[in-house]
Symmetry: C2
Subunit: 339 residues, 2 copies
């Protein structure tokens, strides 16, 4: 009666059980299962058959302890609720599964210290890390990269392979698009200060605007959420700009809502361009002109770069950099400048 009545207490089978049934040593079972060519075909088949019958599942814990490999890759994102990362997560999840790894998803809450702390804790329990839109400083990143296999997304550094989404490139397109509509001024509704992409985007806009004789102003920083779109919208209204480029779609969508509340018509009164082409950008009102890119693919590429790093022989020469193409997706939130 001392037994837990809830879960049946049948012990899970171990390689030992298989070994006994097959009349071999546990080492043979271990090899048969994880190093098949090291064992005679007949022996292996027998072991595999018994393992299947027993519904044997190897203990990743034990395996990890003795082999040092855990089969787990951590994916760190600043904010799990930002749809932009959904696509990345989906990409990594897909590719990791295909590579036989388990994905551990962690939300770093846009906080450098959480990120750093998590990274330290994860060193033990994961084989590698994919860091999306890291908020770390260069030094922190260098240090981290020297301690554990790492791939970053949208955060270049000399010390770790990186997948870059070429948003700055598309910013130029966006600006041309606005210019062709007769816009002479643009304001950039900026994202978090600690965001590396944020700086890159602004630089690209500033430069391209200068080249075209447009005036460019930066506002912010704003939290990259729909909620803070209200503040951004109000901020923009106090300028005389006729067009906006937002740090990301979330912010842009929030601005759209705010403009609607305040009776500002988009695109008649104001044109607005988002960034990322997230879920929702196509069906908001008006549908958002935005910068689109194969984000899911970025996740998959990041995984394959990490795999190459973990297994340099099979993975070939690890690429240090991959750049995902972007393009401007013109929808209904941009139009001719008001006169």
């Amino acid at each position: 009666m001392t037994e837990d009545s809830r879960s049946s207490e049948e012990r899970m089978p171990t390689i030992r059980d298989i070994a006994d049934l097959a009349g071999v040593a546990t080492s043979t079972v271990s090899r048969a299962l994880s190093n098949p060519q090291r064992v005679n075909a007949r022996t292996r088949e027998k072991i595999e058959r018994i393992a299947a019958e027993l519904h044997y599942v190897p203990s990743s814990q034990a395996r990890g302890l003795s082999s040092g490999r855990t089969g787990v890759i951590a994916v760190l994102v600043p904010d799990i609720t930002n749809p932009f990362y959904f696509d990345i997560i989906r990409g990594t999840q897909y590719q990791l599964k295909a590579s036989g790894y388990t994905q551990l998803l962690v939300d770093t809450e846009e906080a450098t210290d959480v990120e750093l702390d998590t990274l330290r804790k994860l060193r033990r329990s994961t084989d590698g890390v994919i860091l999306a839109a890291s908020r770390l400083t260069d030094d922190q990143l260098t240090d981290t990269a020297s301690r554990q296999p790492l791939v970053t997304i949208n955060r270049a550094t000399a010390d770790a392979p990186t997948v870059l989404i070429d948003t700055p490139g598309a910013m130029v397109q966006a600006l041309e698009h606005l210019a062709s509509f007769g816009h002479k001024s643009v304001v950039y509704a900026g994202g978090p200060t600690s965001s590396w992409s944020n700086h890159r985007r602004w630089k690209a806009i500033e430069e391209a605007a200068a080249k075209r004789g447009m005036s460019a102003t930066r506002l912010g920083p704003y939290a990259p959420t729909a909620f803070s779109g209200a503040a951004a919208a109000d901020g923009v209204l106090s300028t005389r700009a006729t067009s906006i480029i937002a740090f990301n779609d979330l912010l842009a969508i929030g601005m759209l809502q705010r403009f609607r509340e305040r009776g500002v018509r988009v695109p008649e009164d104001l044109s607005i361009v988002g960034c990322d082409d997230i879920f929702g950008a196509d069906f908001c009102n008006p549908p958002l002109t935005t910068i689109s890119s194969p984000i899911e693919q970025a996740g998959r590429v990041a995984v394959s770069m990490l795999m190459a790093q973990l297994d340099p022989i099979r993975g070939g020469t690890p690429r240090k950099l991959a750049v995902m193409p972007t393009h401007l997706k013109v929808r209904a939130s941009t139009g001719p400048a008001r006169v």
Copy 2:
């Protein structure tokens, strides 16, 4: 020169290192760190200090191997890209972190066999599972629940604690809302056949419609994605119904887009009610009247029910059922029936 030049090879500290430095046995270190009251305060402080200096991080692998507990809870969702689950995931993530557990997120791809398979594999490596919108049959669920601590979300069963979102209750509200607008007929754009909620929702609608003398028709099944909203929309147009309740918002939003394409005006020609109040339901065009509930809270409650199950003493009497309230959120996609 045989060393891996990438990651610095300094071995991670173990309790052994701490024990040596502190001049005690490893068992004492172990206790000091994970069973503090079992050890003298002074000894403990000393050990904690050394541990901190060394940046000691316990190996979850080793800990799991010897203790049987892994500190990992798996959260299984049918489709990671469905925003509905984002909120659940956010809730579980938050609460799990607060309880000192790690969340392992798994996408079961809406497939029963993937779900079952994953569940088996996970038995070894997790302390418990939260199953959102499980596609399992009753028998499979019973069997699973007997083998591992489990909490389901939106899938009632006698054998495992459940968090239910009272969508059926709100269906009645939705129907009343439509009736008050003069609608005499409603069609339900159904979700996956294997979805338990789908059946519940339809039953609720059917019953409530009969009570009000409205005609109710079921269409589908449709995949719960915006993409298949087109098919659903076309299906609805071939009926003479004036109002629609969709299985979920994703489907409803997809229908909205299709109607727009086909020149059907919402809500003038057709009223439509969604379900879940996901991200986007408030800013689509027109904003969607939908059934709203504290989804994130559902995730948190699920975790606390699981915690109670894992530690019956501290957790108190495990609740077997929690029902999250729902309400109809009226926006602009519903209006008077056309005459």
